[in-house]
Symmetry: C2
Subunit: 148 residues, 2 copies
DNA sequence: ATAAGTGTACTATATATGTTAGTACACTTA
DNA sequence: TAAGTGTACTAACATATATAGTACACTTAT
């Protein structure tokens, strides 16, 4: 279920989906790496609504990451609406957002502009950029719909 | 030349261009905010090649930010190729990159995919996203060319 | 009721990062 | 020589990150 060396670990859900890729050399905090991994699995539809996530203790055991660190990741994800938590039962994938979160969207637009601006400055072409964007859109799951 | 309250400052270059918007409430480190501001001015063409940036001491004075923090921002920007430094003279806007930095581009693609993925998940439309992207491209300065 | 498995809430400790403060030195320009 | 550059340190402090350990509340199944 788990494979790792000194610096990186890959953790699987249901024995199949690689849910987490942790790189201890990566300056990004571990709890952020966990958040990013789970967000991506939800966004791409690899984890479906109401599906149960590994428990804090289980994931901590299997990855040798401290339970407090896992808990922080889950707490953040719940605050951001990606998962919901039921005490005594566990953590589950939240339904896709029904309300438009304009604040978050503006924040993401800001990141988008920065990223695209630098890509253009580095000499990347509009075609290349648009292709990456369209591919990312087609691999995401909007409004709880299915994909591909 | 400077306007600020307790939590945010705006610093100007040549008395006109707002070069830096620092928000002390922002969890993003100050030196990162400085880097982002200067990168954006270079990418959008507001600062031109070989143009001199404010000296470390001057900017530190005017913003009440510690010189060490400014220095860190400049050092990073030089390492990333956005500016060049001449001891005894100052910091200047570097020429646009001639070599393709595939590693950086892949990193930016990764950020792009994450951002676009979440936007799609939040229910934003392909049209909206593409429009933001195209607008960002048109406001950037590729290959040292002029703009608009 | 009990046991096992959940999440939650603490305290404490160690380490890394960010920021400020101060000093000294080398280089450039006038 | 003086003034203005960048550079390189040390020191101190605050905050963030991660681990360790403990205790408690809730849920499910027995």
């Amino acid at each position: 279920m788990v494979a790792f060396n000194t610096t990186s670990k890959t953790y699987h859900v249901k024995g199949v989906i690689p849910i987490i890729a942790i790189d201890l050399r990566n300056p990004k905090p571990i709890y952020e790496q966990i958040k990013d991994s789970i967000k991506e699995l939800i966004i791409t539809g690899a984890l479906k609504q109401d599906e149960q996530l590994p428990s804090i203790r289980e994931m901590a055991q299997d990855t040798s990451i401290n339970p407090n660190t896992i808990q922080k990741a889950y707490k953040d994800l719940e605050a951001e609406g990606f998962i919901y938590t039921v005490t005594g039962r566990g953590n589950f994938v939240a339904p896709p957002p029904q309300q438009v979160d304009s604040k978050r969207i503006e924040k993401l637009y800001s990141i988008l502009r920065e990223t695209v601006g630098e890509l253009t400055y580095l000499g990347d072409s509009e075609n290349n950029i648009i292709n990456v964007v369209k591919s990312a859109i087609s691999h995401s799951v909007p409004q709880g719909g299915s994909k591909q």
